[in-house]
Subunit: 222 residues, 2 copies
């Protein structure tokens, strides 16, 4: 995307001068986040043969919060949890998607994402910039029940897509079923029944040969 | 999509028998709605050259609710308004998108969408099917401040995309700036400042030749 640090997308067709100043900042941000639709993830869609993008993923997580909130081990504010999933990947507009099973890309992930957050949220009026940043920080820190449940949805959704694809990213070279279980275990920090279901899908997928059996590996194995 | 009335997408890779019955219904619904990512709209994206799909659009509306809720003329429950926009287009999975400036396609739209709602929401456990149907009905009826604001976002979002594209669907043959103003006027039922801004964009677009000046037309004009 705009990694070359050019101006915001809205500069291509500047809004009229007649527009209220605060609204202009908000519209500029809302146009900029259109770029989330162009950030591709590794997960394969169910309905059509292509990879998912971050905007679709974020919408899908929000739907999952609405339908699955009843399984949270702790009481959660559903509306707040939805806010967390709606904004959780925005930083990837500048920082890009970091695949779950790519430990190299994960090395400087935090640094890249913090820089992206500072740049992106600064487009908003200051009060809203602080508020959206606080939502993203809350999601990342996972210290509230809402953030833990949001994170669980973020891990459960591609698990459903991989199940439907009979493997999907579980087939990434060097990745074992044990790696999948380790990466998905955070679902259990939010919901005992959803992590039970998640393990059932991972176990059954392994039994069917959709993932590689064996111990956790560091890199591609033979 | 599944217009041939075959079974749900989840039938392609059925969930294991070990899965809890209620959760199986919920997962089946959550896999089915993946199809919203394959329903194309007419609106052009800003960030890349392709048309938007319904899942991306729904996520964008949810972001707009978070950022623009302060402009509602009446007090609104933001979380509830977000729920309305998240589910508002689900019926298009079976009924398809009905373009705003296509009056022929609009003729049997309601009938098709009600049939789609009955089929899609029936995948959910009964209590959730009733709840999601009530959300969709509320959005369609526009009798609550939340539904009016949700509808305003649904009309304002493509207006922003069309502005960025210097015309976009405003250039649809037979459509005039006066048609655009008429179709977008519902924004004013929810928010005076946002409709003022919307009119500024439409007026300025017309002045720049991005839409056709003239009276409302019934069909393609010369």
């Amino acid at each position: 995307m705009a990694d070359d640090q050019t101006g915001p997308l809205a500069d291509v067709t500047p809004f009229p001068d007649t527009l209220d100043a605060r609204l202009r900042e908000q519209f500029t941000f809302l146009v900029e986040v259109d770029a989330l639709k162009a950030v591709l993830r590794r997960s394969p869609l169910v309905a059509v043969e292509r990879r998912e993008n971050d905007a679709e993923h974020s919408w899908h997580l929000a739907m999952m919060v609405l339908i699955l909130a009843e399984y949270s081990d702790e009481p959660i504010d559903t509306g707040h949890t939805v806010q967390l999933v709606l904004v959780h990947d925005l930083v990837e507009i500048y920082a890009g998607d970091t695949p779950l099973y790519d430990s190299d890309a994960g090395a400087d992930q935090e640094e890249r994402e913090v820089a992206a957050a500072e740049r992106l949220f600064a487009l908003l009026p200051e009060d809203q910039a602080r508020w959206v940043r606080a939502l993203w920080d809350e999601f990342e820190a996972r210290r509230t029940p809402e953030a833990r449940f949001a994170k669980a949805m973020d891990r459960l959704q591609p698990l459903l897509l991989n199940w439907m694809a009979r493997g999907g990213t579980w087939r990434t070279p060097g990745v074992t079923a044990e790696d999948v279980r380790a990466r998905k275990a955070v679902i259990g920090d939010a919901s005992t029944p959803l992590w039970r279901a998640g393990r059932q899908l991972i176990d059954e997928g392994e039994a069917r040969g959709w993932s590689r059996s064996g111990e956790t590996t560091e890199g591609p194995s033979a």
